[in-house]
């Protein structure tokens, strides 16, 4: 069930576009902000609310890299794996994250603390390698800095 607050925010997005379904992506973003991800139940609720079939909205949801259709951890790590970060050695960061968190790309730590995802170019190539945790961008990273950074997120 969409909450009153979610419906209110989705209604605002609907008011900005010609047809209700045009607000589908915005509605998914709103639900994801509330729950961290978009469950099947949430997807059905949103589809019904904006007048789309569940399949149609799911085809939209799964198209975009940052709409999560599976649960994620409390913090999402997006590691830039694009070319400048490759040249500057992002693989060392990746391997350290694999080892420290005992997960690989697409997985969540056993304690639900972190989900690790690859991300194409974070647009900070002059400060490569880089990663984002939630809304925080870290640049010019070295493996030695990683543990301290991770410790900020509980």
């Amino acid at each position: 069930m969409l909450t009153a607050e979610e419906k209110h925010r989705i209604d605002h997005e609907i008011s900005l576009v010609p047809a209700r379904k045009n607000a589908g992506i915005e509605a998914l973003k709103i639900v994801q902000q509330s729950h961290g991800w978009v469950s099947d139940e949430s997807l059905q609720d949103v589809a019904e609310y904006v007048g789309m079939s569940t399949a149609e909205l799911d085809s939209v949801a799964t198209f975009y890299n940052l709409i999560f259709r599976r649960p994620v951890g409390r913090h999402v790590i997006l590691l830039c794996d694009s070319i400048s970060c490759y040249v500057m050695g992002y693989e060392g960061l990746r391997d350290h994250l694999y080892n420290t968190l005992q997960i690989q790309y697409g997985q969540t730590t056993a304690d639900g603390r972190f989900t690790l995802l690859p991300n194409c170019c974070l647009g900070t190539c002059d400060c490569a390698p880089a990663l984002m945790i939630d809304n925080d961008l870290y640049r010019n990273l070295t493996v030695e800095q990683l543990d301290e950074i991770l410790s900020k997120y509980t």
Binding site: V87, G123, C125, D126
Partner: protein, 433 residues
């Protein structure tokens, strides 16, 4: 040296508030066009200035606008969209403008919207640009409050709404028709052209999509004139350009320089040359979808014509350097992995061809390549090239590959013949899925 785009940007400092921006001449171009110029005059001025699209394609901006139906018979509402998606790997120039001076972008958008008589505008911003989102939200709010946005701007009868739209991550959104689909709440597949967006774009209405850097040039062209803008360039291309360098150079960064500055000057004088212990091997001049250039090209001016004549594209003007200690096969494999992941899957050559290319490159990188693999790669560069796919994603992906096969073919052959990667320190790059 004039630096109109970045003159008020101080790294690490908050961008100018509206009041501060007005004090240094901000929003004067809005007053000028709304009060003294007809939309057709604005279009003609920008066309005469030879402002070419800074998103990579380099099409004349005024000419692009001229395809929008004008007059009382034209469909309404018309839309203007600032393409702030910037997901091309190696490209980070628009971020500087978005975070550093959002009012300059808004001012340029008002000028562009007036030129085509658009009444609704969007900033299509990529998700990862969190700071830019904050700054633009604040700047739009200030512009509404001061009467530069909304109904009856400055009492001239012209009205413009502006919305910030943050994307949810897909490289395809940078392609203008795919971007429009994303704004409509759909999958970001590209659309067939014609009809062109200028005639039938967002929600079926006339729409112009311009790159952030392109739009940021407009206030300065209006204030200083077409001739002033043309003279900023050192070659036949007009204006300044945001050039960037990433990779193993001493001072990676982004600088506003005259259009036509040579690659060598950018690399050596601004980026400080190669890091100690690394040698230059090649570069992609303007993002992941441009052809490699090598040593012999370093004295070329970075402009649309010279780089094209050398067999590449200036693209976004942000160079990625390949050094002698990075495996060229691994480098190209990383790029093809990106393109294969980001293909929207809409047309078969791209959906099927790019993963095939990626798998072959992985095999070669791991020392499992076969001589016939190079022929298969050559085959793909031809059949995923221009004219064989629905949009430019796959042809763009083939540019670094075809030029790597041309300039670094010996390195590919060594991997195959020696059955391992000669860059012994660099491990074979593993795909993320």
């Amino acid at each position: 040296m004039e630096k109109p785009l970045t003159q008020h940007i101080v790294p690490g400092r908050k961008p100018l508030s509206l009041k501060e921006y007005e004090k240094v001449g901000g929003y004067q171009s809005v007053r000028k066009v709304l009060q003294d110029m007809a939309p057709a005059e604005v279009q003609a001025l920008v066309k005469d200035a030879n402002l070419r699209g800074r998103g990579g394609a380099g099409f004349n901006t005024g000419l692009k606008w001229s395809f929008v139906p004008m007059g009382p018979e034209a469909a309404t509402p018309k839309y203007l969209v600032a393409n702030a998606d910037e997901m091309e790997p190696g490209t980070f120039k628009d971020r500087l403008l978005l975070e550093g001076n959002p009012h300059q972008l808004i001012e340029g958008m008002i000028v562009a919207a007036y030129a085509i008589q658009a009444s609704i505008s969007y900033v299509f911003l990529r998700w990862a640009y969190k700071l830019a989102a904050q700054e633009i939200t604040q700047a739009i709010h200030e512009a509404y409050k001061a009467g530069y946005l909304g109904k009856n701007i400055l009492g001239t009868g012209f009205s413009l709404e502006m919305h910030l739209h943050t994307g949810v991550g897909r490289y395809m959104c940078g392609e203008e028709t795919a971007l429009l689909n994303a704004l409509e709440g759909k999958r970001a597949n590209p659309r067939a052209k014609p009809p062109f967006p200028q005639v039938s774009g967002l929600f079926g209405k006339p729409t112009i999509v311009n790159n952030v850097e392109t739009l940021c040039n407009l206030p300065h062209i209006i204030n200083n004139g077409a001739e002033w803008f043309r003279k900023l360039g050192l070659t036949e291309d007009a204006g300044t350009k945001l050039y960037g360098v990433s990779g193993r150079v001493k001072k990676p960064g982004c600088w506003e320089l005259p259009m036509g500055t040579t690659i060598r000057e950018i690399l050596e004088d601004y980026a400080g040359g190669m890091q100690d212990g690394y040698l230059f091997k090649g570069l992609l001049p303007g993002g992941a979808s441009t052809d490699f250039l090598v040593e012999e090209h370093l004295d070329l001016p970075m402009d649309y014509g010279a780089i094209q004549a050398a067999g590449s594209r200036m693209g976004t003007g942000t160079m990625i350097i390949l050094d002698d200690q990075t495996c060229p096969v691994g480098f190209v494999h990383n790029l093809q992995h990106f393109f294969a992941q980001e293909s929207c899957g809409f047309c078969t050559p791209c959906r099927e061809g790019l993963p095939w290319v990626e798998k072959i490159l992985l095999a070669i990188d791991k020392g499992e390549g076969k001589p016939e693999h190079l022929l298969t790669l050559d085959f793909h560069t031809k059949y995923l090239g221009p004219g064989n796919t629905f949009c430019a994603l796959a042809p763009g992906a083939m540019e670094p590959l075809q030029s790597a096969l041309k300039y670094f073919r010996e390195d590919f052959e060594r991997h195959i013949h020696e059955h391992h990667c000669p860059w012994s320190k660099s491990k074979a790059w593993q795909p993320s899925i």
